[in-house]
Amino acid sequence: MATVAVTAERENYLNQEYGIRSWLLTTDHKRIALLYLASITFFFFVGGFFALLIRLELLTPAGDLVQADTYNKLFSMHGQVMIFFFLIPSIPAVLGNFLVPLMIGAKDLAFPRINLLSWYLYIIAGTIYVHCIVTGGVDTGWTFYTPFSTAFSNTRVIEAGIAIFIAGFSSILTGLNFVVTIHRMRAPGMTWSRLPLFIWAMYATSIIQLLGTPVLAITLLLVVFERAFNLGIFDPTRGGDPLLFQHLFWFYSHPAVYIMILPAMAVESEVVACFTRKRIFGYNFVAMSSIAIAVFGFLVWAHHMFTAGISLYSALIFSILSYLVAVPSAIKVFNWTATMYKGSISFTTPMLYAFGFIGLFTMGGLTGLFLAALGIDVHVHDTYFVIAHFHYIMVGGAVMGYLGGLHFWWPKISGRMYPEGWGRLAALLVFAGFNLTFFPQFILGYMGMPRRYWQYPPEFQVLNVLSTAGSTILAVGYVLPMIYFLWSMRYGKIANDNPWDAAGLEWKTSSPPPTFNFEEAPEVTWEAYNYDEIPAPAEVPVER
């Protein structure tokens, strides 16, 4: 590959056309993936900036860095930006968009123009939201709880609600596209049992997006109506039930956690298989556990409401159902671990992220057991224990998965290798910084520090200082990849078509792939993860 002269570069999706127009009007799923990559990276750093301000404010017990109202807006917008504008589109809209057609041997997604529309919806939503931020922001918390959001907040709730409503439709259209593509566009021979586990998990994710997101959409719309037109559906002064909002909201927003974590699991299955050079242990169970998570994920939402005033009996029902969804998650962790047994493991950057993912997801999942236990949840609900728990899942899980996947497929996306040494350093920084940031929050939570507190009693300070210290390391860990990815686009070593010697259709086409993905229409005659048929490289080709 080093012999390939730069001038003889093959035609691919990146160099086929040039100019802004060729990007903004593209229907190529790979280009749309890159459009998403750029836009969600922007929102990731916006949300990250809010997070840093939050951590800096919490350095001291007194509220002294920003005003209380500003602080409330910061954590509200941190949550909304990170969830609706970064995490939910992150892996599906970037890696999924890029990889789903490649992995199943299709020329594109089923509806390329709808795919572009979905990006434009996202951009419209993002623009409205940015406008909301710069003109005053919103202070309802990411949860929009009524009646605070409908009758008491005097910030830009309507604007934020509409932005998230539109972003929801972007997410629905992505999911719809994936389901249709996976059903209708598979290459000859690509049977369901030959699908990469990435596709299985993406399919499960799409189901949640399709069936959950509309409920959030209508809920936010009703909140907007209530503010704008004085309807009274959630209004307690007119006999409305504020818990109804919470039921509707969590019907989406709990499964939304799985929209974020299932794609990360999808990435891990690919990465672990490649860098242990083995078929994933228990393929069927891992595939089915994705579907099980998607279905059971819809049955547990009221475990966010154990202290909210729901009936005792429904609390019992939702608690027991919550434990059901823990089982498929556990199955996945056990299977990844078992895959490493008698493997041939190499420690590339994606694999380091995978190790980190498994460790952090395990801790996040196990603390989920604490929260599903009714008696304990009463004490730790709405404290920093919950904050730590879901950051272990969403940052320790979803973001680690996203970064790992981005490194793993970067050669395919850009045709260049990222600098492996820097990659490993960043992975270690993220892991260390993450734990330092969020582990103290478990203790804080059990000590009783409530979430969304602008000022706090002084006895909580030590742990908060630790957490803030960790967040700065985490920030460095996040900025590094952005720098070296940009650097590698120009200066990185040219990647060959399959730099990791990985199985999977996406590695059988050139890097970067041509516009219609494959020079010749592929026909699949092999099982997924046929690592026994691919000779293992003696050493992983890494640049030091």
Partner: protein
């Protein structure tokens, strides 16, 4: 054992120990799980790291293993569920003879009133060893009453009552937090719970110089609003006799049967026509907007005082006549 452990909140109620016990159990269990997985990963990562000439061994999977590691965790989960549920059940069912404190939350302040009449703001004084039931409502948005030392937390909702209870076990001053985000000064909506020895508590209570018990002020309000003209205690009134009503089932005109709890009484005052007891006419005026939350709590306390708690309470008088409902 953990009382002096700095990373552990103080345990100051009877329920706190139960929560901590399950927490410690889960901590041990999770620690064990984490350790097992991390050690396995570490061992595999070193033992099977990539070497020249060593190929990975392809293993398809094992259904027996899969079922084992699904069923065993599920079994453990069910134990945790049952344990957690028992604690929760205990937390959510206040003893009937508990003394009551009415809590009205508003942005950003806690207003509390004792059964005996003492009023407090952002402070709650309770004696050691007495069951205290909190009957809470909010004037505006959702708040949440959280005392970490008691391990209790309950959201306080506008438009209805929610309850929580505890029995304090050790004197001291503990945090009271609002744990449901409620606006600008959410983090300022804090207070303290002072647990005192009973003797001190009595002294505190008598030093307050308050105007009679909550039920008594409810009584005078009851006369003042003219409730007593219809709700007479002799079954001759146009409204139901309220003596002995609380805690008993009520047959409604539309066929439902509900238990007369705080929320039922609240709703009957604010919006009487949705819950007409069978045999009565819907003639009571709507009091929504005419009584404040505090007045409402006084009325509820008064109506409850007409039905003394059964055995276990002071005196245990259950001679009060059962509610008399004229039959059609």
């Amino acid at each position: 054992m953990f009382d002096n452990f700095p990373l552990w909140p103080i345990r100051a109620s009877t329920g706190a120990g139960n929560v901590d016990a399950l927490f410690i159990f889960l901590l041990a269990l999770s620690g064990l799980m984490c350790a097992a997985i991390f050690v396995m990963i570490l061992v595999f990562a070193t033992k099977y790291r990539r070497r020249r000439g060593v190929e990975a061994e392809q293993i398809e999977g094992s259904s027996a293993l899969e079922i084992t590691w699904s069923v065993i965790p599920l079994g453990i989960f069910m134990v945790i569920f049952a344990w957690g549920a028992v604690i929760y059940f205990h937390e959510r069912t206040p003893p009937r003879a508990a003394s009551e404190v009415y809590v009205v939350a508003k942005q950003w302040m806690w207003k509390l009133q004792h059964q005996e009449g003492a009023r407090e703001i952002n402070e709650l004084h309770v004696p050691v060893g007495r069951d205290v039931k909190l009957i809470m409502t909010s004037q505006d948005v959702i708040h949440s009453f959280y005392v970490p030392a008691f391990r209790i937390k309950q959201d306080v909702l506008p438009g209805r009552y929610t309850t929580a209870w505890f029995r304090a076990t050790r004197p001291g001053v503990y945090h009271l937090f609002c744990s449901q985000y409620c606006g600008t000064m959410h983090s300022g909506m804090i207070g303290q719970v002072t647990v005192m020895e009973p003797a001190q508590y009595e002294a505190w209570l008598s030093g307050g110089g308050t105007a009679g018990s909550l039920a008594a002020s409810g009584d005078s309000l009851f006369q003042q609003l003219g409730c007593s003209t219809c709700h007479r205690s002799d079954a001759q009134g146009r409204g139901p006799n309220l003596v002995g009503l609380f805690g008993h089932p009520v047959h409604l005109e539309d066929g439902r049967t509900v238990t007369a709890d705080e929320n039922y009484i609240r709703q009957c005052i604010l919006s009487p026509h949705t819950n007409i007891p069978s045999g009565f006419k819907p003639i009571m005026p709507i009091f929504q907007g005419l009584v404040s939350e505090e007045q409402l709590t006084a009325l509820v306390a008064y109506i409850k005082s007409l039905s003394p708690p059964p055995a276990g309470g002071q005196g245990g008088v259950s001679l009060a006549p059962k509610p008399q409902y004229p039959k059609e």
